[in-house]
C-alpha cells in the first residue's frame, strides 16, 4: 500500500464517522451553541439542577504546555545524564515542626477522600507513594487504618466538614493539612452523593446512609487569618509541636492568601490551581471559579519572597500536573514540590481503554469518563460498591503508581540536567521561555525568541 492509499483510507473513514454523527459539508455548527452546549441546556431543562461531575477543568487555559526550557549550550553547560548527580529530595515543614517530612521526590499524592475513592484504591496510593519515598494525603472523610498502614508518610487533612476528625489520627499523622480551599472549587464545600455513602462511609462521617451530602465550605470554629493562627497553635499544642502544618488554598488571590497563610503560621502552603481535580463538584464551579495554576505560582512565590520565607515555608503546587515536564516547570517557577490527584488515579487505571466495555455500559467511553460521583466506576477506583472495588488490585495499582512517579522523576531530572542543575530545585525562571503572550505574562518569562515579558515593569 502506498502512502496515498493509507491517507485516502483514513479520510474515507473520517468522513464515514462524520456522516454517522450526522455531519456533511454545509452543516455549520455554532461556536457558541455547539453540541455540548445544546446537550447541557436540554439536560438542565429536563432536570432543573446543575450538573455535578468529577475530574478537573476540561476547557483549555494557559498551562505548563505553553512554556519551554532553554537547556544549556554555550553560556551554560549541562550535566551528564546518569553519571552526574541530580538530586530530587525535598524537606517539607521545617519552619516550626520537630519532625518535618523528608521526601525523596518532589511529587506528592494530593488529598483524595476515602468515600470518593474505594478502600483498595487508597491502599494502592499508599503503596505506590511509599515505594518511591513520597507522601499521600487523606481527604474529606477521615483516615482509614488501611491507608495509615500502607502510607509511610501520611498527611491528615482538617477540612470544614471535620468528618472523622479525631486527636488519635492527628497524632498518628505525619503532617496536618488545613484545607481552606481547593482549586476545583475555591469557596465551595465537599459533595458526595448518596450512591457512595455506604454504611462504612456514613459511619465514618456520622451521617445517615444514602443522603446526598453537601459539606460545609467554611470552617466551623475559625474565620479569617487571625483565627487561623490560633487554630494552628491549637493543633500544634495537641500534637506537641511535632507535625508540620500545611495550609491548602485554591488559587484565587494567591499573593494575599499565601502571605496570610504564612502569617498564620503555616509550615507549608499547598496551592491548587483551577484545573485541579475533584471527585464531585458542580461543573459551573470547576470551569468558572479560580485562576489557572500557571498564573498562580509567581504571585505565590512573590509573597514568600517579600516575607523572606521562600524555601523556608515550602510551596506545593497542584492542578494539572501530568508529566516530568510539568513538574520541572512548576519547580522552575519557584515551587518546592508538586502534588497530583487526577494523574495518580489515571496511573492506577482510571479511564483506561481496558475497561471500554464497562464504560460503554454506563454510556461513556475511556478518556471521557468523569461521573466519579456516581460510584459506578468500572475500574473499581472511584466507587464504594464492593463488587466494583474488588476488580481493582491494590498491589498492581501501587506498582503502576510507583512506576509512573519514577518515570516523572526521570523526566524532571532529564530537564534539570539539560539546564545544568545538580538538584531539581535549582531550576529557575531564567531557564524558561513562553510560547504565548498570555503564558509569558502569567509566568513572567520572555516570549520565546524575544526579551519581552508582558507586564514586567508593572510589579
Amino acid at each position: 500500500m502506498t502512502e496515498f492509499d493509507t491517507l485516502g483510507k483514513a479520510r474515507d473513514e473520517l468522513e464515514r464517522r462524520a456522516a454517522r454523527r450526522g455531519w456533511r459539508p454545509g452543516l455549520r455548527e455554532s461556536a457558541l451553541f455547539d453540541r455540548n452546549v445544546i446537550h447541557e441546556i436540554q439536560r438542565a431543562a429536563r432536570e432543573g439542577i446543575y450538573d455535578i461531575r468529577g475530574f478537573g477543568a476540561k476547557r483549555a487555559v494557559p498551562h505548563f504546555d505553553d512554556l519551554l526550557f532553554l537547556g544549556a549550550s554555550m553560556s551554560r553547560y549541562p550535566l551528564e545524564g546518569y553519571r552526574e548527580r541530580c538530586d530530587t529530595d525535598v524537606v517539607l515543614g521545617d519552619r516550626h515542626a520537630a519532625r518535618p517530612l523528608h521526601l525523596e521526590i518532589p511529587i506528592t499524592i494530593a488529598g483524595m477522600s476515602f468515600g470518593a475513592l474505594s478502600g483498595p484504591a487508597k491502599e494502592a496510593l499508599g503503596r505506590g507513594a511509599s515505594e518511591v519515598g513520597t507522601s499521600t494525603t487523606t481527604g474529606d472523610g477521615g483516615m482509614t487504618p488501611e491507608e495509615r498502614e500502607h502510607s509511610t508518610t501520611l498527611v491528615y487533612q482538617l477540612l470544614p466538614s471535620r468528618y472523622g476528625m479525631n486527636p488519635d489520627d492527628l497524632r498518628r499523622a505525619d503532617a496536618i493539612e488545613i484545607v481552606v480551599g481547593q482549586g476545583a472549587k475555591p469557596g465551595g464545600g465537599g459533595v458526595l452523593l448518596g450512591q457512595k455513602i455506604s454504611d462504612r462511609v456514613a459511619d465514618m462521617r456520622d451521617l445517615p446512609q444514602g443522603i446526598d451530602q453537601r459539606s460545609a465550605c467554611r470552617h466551623p470554629d475559625w474565620t479569617g487569618p487571625d483565627d487561623l493562627e490560633i487554630k494552628i497553635h491549637e493543633l500544634r499544642e495537641i500534637t506537641d509541636w511535632e507535625k508540620p502544618i500545611f495550609v491548602k488554598i485554591g488559587a484565587t488571590r494567591p499573593y494575599f492568601d499565601v502571605a496570610l497563610a504564612v502569617k498564620a503560621g503555616a509550615d507549608v502552603v499547598v496551592l491548587d490551581g483551577m484545573q485541579g481535580g475533584t471527585a464531585a463538584t458542580q461543573e459551573v464551579f470547576i470551569e468558572h471559579v479560580g485562576i489557572p495554576t500557571l498564573s498562580a505560582i509567581r504571585p505565590a512565590v512573590d509573597a514568600l519572597q517579600d516575607l523572606d520565607m521562600h524555601r523556608r515555608v515550602q510551596l506545593v503546587v497542584s492542578g494539572g500536573v501530568r508529566s516530568g515536564a510539568d513538574v520541572a516547570k512548576a519547580l522552575a517557577l519557584g515551587a518546592d514540590a508538586v502534588s497530583i490527584g487526577v494523574a495518580a488515579i489515571v496511573a492506577l487505571g482510571d479511564n483506561s481503554p481496558a475497561y471500554e466495555d464497562g464504560y460503554e455500559e454506563i454510556a461513556t467511553s475511556a478518556g471521557f469518563y468523569d461521573d466519579w460521583h456516581e460510584g459506578r466506576d468500572p475500574a473499581g477506583i472511584s466507587t464504594q460498591d464492593d463488587a466494583l472495588a474488588a476488580r481493582f488490585d491494590p498491589r498492581l495499582g501501587g506498582r503502576r503508581l510507583a512506576n509512573y512517579l519514577r518515570a516523572m522523576v526521570l523526566e524532571t531530572q532529564t530537564i534539570a540536567r539539560a539546564c545544568g542543575k545538580s538538584h531539581v530545585l535549582n531550576l529557575e525562571p531564567e531557564d524558561l521561555v513562553a510560547l504565548t503572550v498570555e503564558a509569558a505574562a502569567m509566568a513572567r518569562v520572555p516570549l520565546a525568541g524575544t526579551g519581552w515579558i508582558p507586564g514586567a515593569d508593572e510589579r
Binding site: 429536563r46 471535620r162 460545609a216 490560633i230
Partner: protein, 234 residues
C-alpha cells in the same frame, strides 16, 4: 466541685510563671504516671489551655480562657471557672467539660462524644457540625446554633437565637425558652416519652436541677434536604 488547695495529690500550675507549652505537655504525659488532679492558675485568656488531653484526669482552670480550651478532649473532666473564648471543647471525643461562665461562639463545634456543660450563655454557632457530643446550656444560645448538626443532643434551658438547627441532620435539639427562628429544614417535633427520659438524664448529668423536661420543646430535621431534587421532565 473544685479541687481543694491543700490536697497533696493535686498538682497546681501557674500560667503566669510556666509557659502553656510546658503545661499542656505535662497534661499529655500523665498517662505515664502523674497526678490525676490538676489546677491551672492565671490562664488570663490563653488559647488552647488543656487542649488534647487523653487521660481520665480532672483539671480545674481558674479564670477566663481564650480559644479552643479543652479542644479535642478525651476522657478528662475539665472545669473552667471563668468564661471561654471561641471553640470551647471543639471536636471533643469523650469526657466532660464544664464552663462555669459564658462561652463564646462555636462552643462544642464538631464534637463527637462526651458532655459539654455551659452554666452561663453560649454565643452563636453553639454545637455547629456536632457529631455525637451532648451539650447542655443553662442559659441561652446565639444564632445559627446546631448548624449542620449531625448527631448528639443540644439542650438549651434558656432561649435560642435565629436560624436554629439550619441544615440539621440527626441531632436532637431541646429548647425550653423562645426560639428566634428555625433554620432551613429544621422543624418542631413531638416530645415523646423517650425524649423526656433522654432530657431528664442529660439535665441530671449536667447538674441542672431547676428545669423540668416537660417545659422543653424538641426540634429536629424535616429531612427534606437529604437528597437533591432532580426532575425528570421527559
Amino acid at each position: 466541685m473544685r479541687a481543694p488547695d491543700d490536697d497533696p495529690v493535686v498538682r497546681t500550675v501557674d500560667l503566669a510563671a510556666t509557659p502553656l507549652r510546658e503545661v499542656n505537655a505535662a497534661l499529655h504525659a500523665v498517662e505515664n504516671g502523674g497526678p490525676r488532679r490538676w489546677r491551672v492558675l492565671n490562664p488570663r485568656g490563653a488559647h488552647a489551655v488543656a487542649a488534647g488531653i487523653d487521660a481520665p484526669i480532672e483539671v480545674d482552670v481558674e479564670g477566663h480562657v481564650g480559644y479552643y480550651c479543652a479542644g479535642m478532649n478525651k476522657r478528662a473532666m475539665v472545669r473552667v471557672h471563668g468564661n471561654c473564648g471561641t471553640g470551647a471543647a471543639e471536636n471533643m471525643m469523650s469526657g466532660t467539660v464544664v464552663v462555669d461562665g459564658n462561652a463564646s461562639q462555636s462552643a462544642g463545634a464538631t464534637g463527637r462524644g462526651g458532655l459539654l456543660v455551659i452554666r452561663g450563655d453560649a454565643a452563636a454557632r453553639c454545637g455547629i457540625s456536632m457529631k455525637g457530643l451532648d451539650i447542655v446550656v443553662r442559659g441561652s444560645v446565639g444564632h445559627m446554633s446546631a448548624f449542620m448538626a449531625q448527631r448528639g443532643r443540644l439542650v438549651v434551658c434558656g432561649d435560642a437565637g435565629d436560624a436554629l438547627g439550619d441544615s440539621i441532620y440527626e441531632a436532637h435539639l431541646y429548647v425550653r425558652g423562645d426560639v428566634g427562628g428555625l433554620g432551613a429544614d429544621c422543624v418542631g417535633k413531638e416530645l415523646r416519652e423517650d425524649h423526656h427520659a433522654e432530657l431528664r438524664d442529660l439535665l441530671e448529668r449536667a447538674g441542672v436541677d431547676d428545669c423540668e423536661p416537660a417545659d422543653f420543646r424538641r426540634y429536629g430535621s424535616a429531612r427534606r434536604l437529604y437528597n437533591f431534587h432532580v426532575d425528570h421532565a421527559e
